[in-house]
């Protein structure tokens, strides 16, 4: 199974719109949304069938038994993450800040603090002919890297025959993006022609290089600033990154999104441009896959 990852560096450049279009062009039978902090692909990918959800357990979290707590505060003093606060006469754990390190449980003289398995989110699978895996992380939970790995392995195990998997990735350069890069054959970066877009592009290109992931770039909403689009072309040339084309700003896109449709369901400038980028992407994918 060849795996194509779509990322962006800067948010809001059009990753999910591009992913939804590619899914149509490729008639993909396996696709996933790894933007577990803010998943959106399900709104436009048009999958059918009954979804199966399963709990995702992230790292453990600590809790303090209010009956056993004597209010000595040793846990709060030892916590490096500022996750334990005084609450009247006892101490309680702030679940968003807790990283599950186990130090409070170790230092507590009464065994009042202990770790429990925390449900950090859920993985949703739409099985059938077209397999779609997506996930959502609960508020303030970390470990989105492990959840991304769960989404991908769910996809692998339910669609082993698929020859192409399209993965909608996350913005940024941290945790979830790094995890989504594992084992992909090509990362397509969708960027926008602005100083912010260019600055973020550089950071994501460098991040992908650290993880030896082959990358390619396309510019969305390119006509907003032809000068910046040209800067991006130059950047790609100078840095040996494949430049696969540009897509014009198209008012049909928000209309399609709001209608829960993939832009590829419409014949418009954005779709035509996306198709050209798609064709180049597939060609590159064949070349880089070992």
């Amino acid at each position: 199974m060849k795996k194509l990852l779509i990322i962006s560096g800067k948010g809001g450049t059009g990753k999910t719109t591009a992913a939804a279009a590619f899914i149509r062009f490729a008639d993909a039978h396996a696709y996933a949304d790894c933007d577990v902090d803010a998943p959106n692909l399900h709104l436009v990918a048009g999958q059918t069938g009954k979804p199966q959800t399963s709990d995702y357990f992230g790292s453990q979290k600590a809790s303090i038994d209010p009956q056993a707590c004597i209010g000595c505060g040793l846990c709060a003093k030892s916590c490096r993450f500022d996750a334990i606060r005084k609450n009247g006469n006892i101490y309680t754990v702030h679940e968003y800040a807790c990283e599950g390190c186990g130090v409070c449980a170790y230092v507590c003289p009464r065994g009042a603090a202990s770790l429990y398995d925390d449900i950090a989110g859920q993985v949703t699978l739409y099985p059938g002919e077209r397999v779609f895996a997506t996930a959502e992380l609960k508020m303030g939970r970390g470990n989105s890297g492990k959840l991304v790995a769960s989404v991908k392995s769910t996809l692998n195990s339910h669609a082993p025959q698929a020859d192409l998997a399209i993965i909608d990735g996350s913005p940024g350069i941290g945790c979830p993006v790094i995890a989504s890069m594992s084992g992909v054959d090509l990362a397509l970066i969708v960027t926008e022609p602005s100083v912010s877009g260019i600055s973020d592009l550089d950071r994501i290109v460098k991040t992908a290089a650290v993880f030896q992931t082959p990358t390619a770039v396309c510019v969305n909403k390119a006509d907003i600033s032809p000068e910046h689009t040209q800067s991006i072309r130059n950047y790609c040339l100078q840095n040996g990154v494949a430049f696969l084309g540009d897509i014009p700003y198209d008012p049909q896109v928000p209309i399609a999104v709001n209608d829960g449709k993939s832009i590829a369901d419409f014949d418009c400038p954005a779709t035509r441009a996306l198709r050209k980028v798609y064709e180049k992407t597939i060609k590159l994918l064949e070349e880089v896959t070992v």
Binding site: S8, G9, K10, G11, G12, T13, T16, D37, A38, N40, L43, V44, S59, Q60, S78, R80, F81, Y96, A97, E99, G100, C101, G102, V103, Y106, V107, L115, L137, M139, G140, R141, G142, S144, G145, P171, G172, I173, G174, C175, I178, E192, P193, S194, V195, S196, S199, D200, R203, K206, T207, V210, I224, S225, H228, Y249, P251, P254, V257, N258, G260
Partner: protein, 276 residues
């Protein structure tokens, strides 16, 4: 007054709102907490920048004092320690710096040393203090850097947070008096607004919405805000002209009298909301 600007979805205009708001407000710092992809400095162009390195810690094992009991390795919840040839071995980027191994060692063989993970830069532009958090490439978590940046906020600040609703956002918002939620009037924008709305509710922060890149009324967003009694403080029309100005790294309030007026009103409205 510390105002945090958030958005569930990326690209809705957090930085656009933050930098322009900081430009019209008086005596207010701009704090860029999007440590993975900081952008505010492109618009505000800080000068006289001083950069501080942000450190975390990493354990060091004294091979002579260590007797190979393996308690530290067995304790580590993050798999940052391996045990090979009778001695512990640490993997710094995996380590969460919890201090656990230092505590459990029965022989005091573990000490901690600093490890750089990012930077916080401070500069000034047109009298506006500017603080920028930046994560080193390849590092997984921006949280400690955001924490360091927020500590430099002073009493009055506009905090430009990261997109989404995960750990970095929670950290960015920690000291805020009020949260501005920038929403895009699309199905994606609404879906992600729900998530960040849930977050600020859980964190007990007062908030209001700014509808950005508006092109007529997107009813589902209006209904959501109405039903949840979320005040909509401002609607900004989509404008290719403003998009192009921002694309070039310029401040909209410096190039459009209408934008300046809108942001001055936003500052007033937000201040009133905070007072309530």
């Amino acid at each position: 007054m510390k105002i945090a600007v958030l958005s569930g979805k990326g690209g809705t205009g957090k930085t656009f709102v933050s930098v322009n708001l900081a430009a019209v407000a008086a005596n207010t710092a701009y704090i860029d907490c999007d440590a993975e992809e900081p952008n505010g400095y492109l618009f505000l162009k800080p000068e006289e920048e001083q950069t501080e390195i942000v450190y975390t810690t990493v354990p060091v094992f004294d091979a002579h004092t260590c007797d190979g009991c393996r308690k530290c390795v067995d304790f580590c919840h993050f798999n940052a320690l391996a045990f090979v040839k009778g001695r512990p071995k640490v993997f710094p980027e995996i380590c969460h710096a919890c201090g656990g191994c230092t505590l459990v060692c029965p022989r005091g063989a573990v000490t901690e040393e600093k490890r750089a993970i990012g930077t916080v830069s401070q500069g000034v532009s047109n009298g506006i203090p500017i603080v920028t958090a930046a994560l080193n490439l390849g590092e997984a978590s921006a949280v400690p850097i955001i924490r360091a940046a927020v500590q430099k906020a002073g009493d009055n600040a506009v905090i430009d947070s990261s997109p989404g609703s995960g750990c970095p956002v929670t950290e960015s918002v920690s000291g805020a008096d009020y949260c501005l939620l920038v929403a895009e009037p699309t199905a994606f924008g609404l879906h992600n607004l729900r998530m960040v709305h849930e977050l600020v509710t859980l964190l007990h922060k007062p908030y209001g919405v700014i509808v950005n890149k508006s092109n007529g009324i997107y009813q589902p967003l209006e209904d959501y805000c109405g039903k949840n009694r979320i005040p909509i403080l401002l609607r900004i029309q989509y404008s290719k002209k403003i998009a192009k100005i921002s694309a070039g790294g310029a401040l909209a309030v410096n190039h459009s009298a209408e934008m300046r007026r809108l942001f001055e009103i936003l500052w007033e409205t937000t201040s009133q909301q905070v007072e309530q």
